[in-house]
């Protein structure tokens, strides 16, 4: 009897302490997401089933835009992941190599500074640096369809390199030193230790930072909007799902925004992210954890 009362008291305290955080999270994060899925089945307050999605996927103009934006996101992610993560890993390896000693913190802080800037500033800095006005780069990188998206992606890589760097740096530091020592006693070289011991040990963290990059890039909007606005040119060549969503929902120039179509676009993006993340956790992350043992 007494313990039952104790239990009840514990539950009451738990609810009391967690309710402010839960309220904010449920009302301003979970509810809007669920609500967005809900209203994507409506058109002007009338239930229309999957009509909005049918429009997005079959209307000539909008299906072209959707597919193009999706492919641009894939390209963005592919470049970001394949440049950013190996580079970050390399730098983290240098910082934790034991050859930098006292300057480690100093370097780490400097390398992270670009990540503290807003995309508006990053976009402007790089646009000015590569603009023909300054003449450092002669080629109009942002003006050509083939180079615009890779250029913007690399700006983003420059800005956010610090995040995987810091993340992998902490992962490398947490490797027990006795493992490394015994390998060294066995005569393994630094490079061999890095590839054969350290990388397999931090594989789960490399996996997590990859999936976070996936979520961030598919949810991304800021850098493209900051540089090219809501109708990102040239000729939509830098349009991504985020800007497509903004345009569909909020409108741009002569195009009227549409709440329900916007919600449907957001729902599509949400499911792309959800599927990608779920597939990753089901297939890759589990194996990484097993191989760690």
């Amino acid at each position: 009897m007494k313990s039952r009362n104790m239990m009840r008291k514990r539950y009451r305290q738990l609810v009391l302490f967690t309710s402010p955080a839960l309220a904010f999270f449920l009302i301003f994060a979970v509810f809007p997401l669920m609500g967005t899925i809900y209203i994507s089945f409506f058109k002007d307050a009338v239930f229309v089933g999957l009509a909005n999605f049918k429009f997005l996927f079959t209307d000539d103009n909008s299906s072209t835009r959707l597919l193009a934006a999706f492919l641009h996101n894939c390209e963005f992610f592919a470049i970001a992941a394949s440049v950013q993560i190996p580079l970050a890993l390399f730098m983290a390896a240098l910082l934790t190599s034991g050859r930098v000693r006292r300057l480690t913190g100093f370097y780490r802080t400097l390398l992270f500074i670009p990540s503290t800037l807003s995309v508006v500033i990053v976009g402007f800095i790089w646009r000015l640096i590569i603009s023909p006005l300054w003449g450092i780069v002669q080629y109009p990188l942002l003006g050509e369809k083939t180079t615009a998206l890779p250029t913007i992606t690399l700006m983003s890589v420059w800005q956010y390199l610090g995040i995987p760097l810091v993340f992998l740096y902490s992962a490398l530091l947490s490797i027990p030193s006795n493992i490394i020592e015994s390998a060294r006693v066995d005569g393994a070289s630094d490079i061999r230790i890095f590839f054969r011991i350290k990388i397999p040990l931090i594989a789960p963290q490399i996996g997590i930072i990859t999936i976070l990059t996936f979520i961030w890039t598919f949810n991304g909007f800021d850098i493209i909007y900051a540089l090219n606005g809501g109708q990102p040119g040239p000729d939509f060549s830098t349009d991504v799902l985020g800007t497509l969503f903004y345009r569909t929902f909020f409108g741009w120039d002569a195009d009227q925004g549409n709440q329900n179509l916007g919600a449907a676009t957001a729902t599509v993006i949400f499911f792309i992210i959800l599927l990608g993340t779920a597939a990753y956790f089901a297939i890759v992350q589990r194996r990484l954890k097993v191989s760690q043992l």
Binding site: A21, F28, L110, P114, T116, V120
Partner: protein
């Protein structure tokens, strides 16, 4: 002799590593330094030799003067400060309370709540913007600081809770038991324990602040009015409209970046702790 060779070899390897990192450091902060240098130049100076230091001919503070004369600039600064500080405070308070609850009253429900917040870290909340806008219109909160603060707390709280849970786990039970024996109620006990998790609080604050100050999406949707515009949005619009006044533009970019660079340099340890602890779950 062999030992000496070995030492020289080690030293040259060390030097190589330093040079390699310095190269990356240069790429990381070079562009920022170029922009800072150019913020002290005349328009002519900016374009005739962008990579040159200002000399007696090209030195000018007009950009900064005009940036401050632009009435919106200071107001945007204040808006961003109110929104960032408000959201961060609320996030820290809510996260501490929730994390204490989760660690202290460890039940099945507590585990479920913790799981919910763990998923919440990865939730792409911007995709719920259509409904967020509807809610804010409904409650007449459009173009208010509160609208942004509410959304930012909702987004930031999951990571804050998870970080604080790892911190509260390290607190020993002795202090809590002692407090309870002294007759402190649960909330009082919480307050007594709180100083022990200060490093965690600093980490949560640091990692919450940065994306809020730099956010462009929600200000673009919720606070476009001139009175509540944030600095990031203000600069974005300044870049769009006043592309002729390069001096003022570059100066305002520098002024916009400085607070966070300073804050980060001061709190980089806490920030890095927050980042690596929070996402490694």
């Amino acid at each position: 002799m062999i030992q000496k060779d070995g030492r020289i070899q080690t030293q040259s390897k060390n030097l190589l590593v330093h040079l390699c990192i310095l190269f990356f450091v240069l790429i990381a902060i070079g562009p920022i330094i170029v922009i800072i240098i150019n913020s002290f130049k005349t328009t002519d100076g900016i374009f005739s030799g962008p990579l040159k230091l200002p000399d007696s001919k090209t030195f000018s503070l007009d950009g900064y003067k005009r940036a401050f004369e632009n009435g919106n600039f200071i107001r945007n600064y204040i808006n961003s400060t109110i929104i960032t500080v408000g959201s961060t405070l609320l996030t820290v308070v809510c996260s501490c309370l929730a994390a204490y609850g989760i660690t202290e009253y460890a039940t099945k429900l507590a585990k479920m709540i913790a799981g919910l917040f763990t998923i919440g870290i990865m939730l792409p909340v911007t995709l719920g913007t259509v409904v967020i806008l509807k809610m804010m219109v409904r409650f007449h909160l459009l173009n208010t600081h509160i609208s942004l603060i509410l959304v930012y707390v909702g987004i930031s709280v999951p990571l804050g809770v998870i970080l604080m849970v790892t911190n509260f786990r390290t607190v020993s039970n002795d202090l809590k038991e002692a407090a309870r024996i002294d007759g402190a109620n649960e909330f009082k006990t919480f307050l007594i324990v709180l100083p022990l998790v200060k490093p965690g609080i600093a980490a949560v604050a640091a990692i919450t602040m940065l994306p809020i100050w730099n956010d462009l999406w929600f200000p673009l949707i919720l606070t476009t009015g001139p009175k509540t515009q944030t600095l990031t949005l203000g600069i974005q619009q300044f870049v769009g409209v006043h592309t002729n006044d390069w001096q003022a533009l570059i100066a305002s970019l520098v002024l916009g970046a400085i607070p966070l660079i300073l804050l980060f340099t001061l709190f980089s340890k806490q920030f890095i702790k927050g980042l690596s602890d929070g996402y490694s779950k």
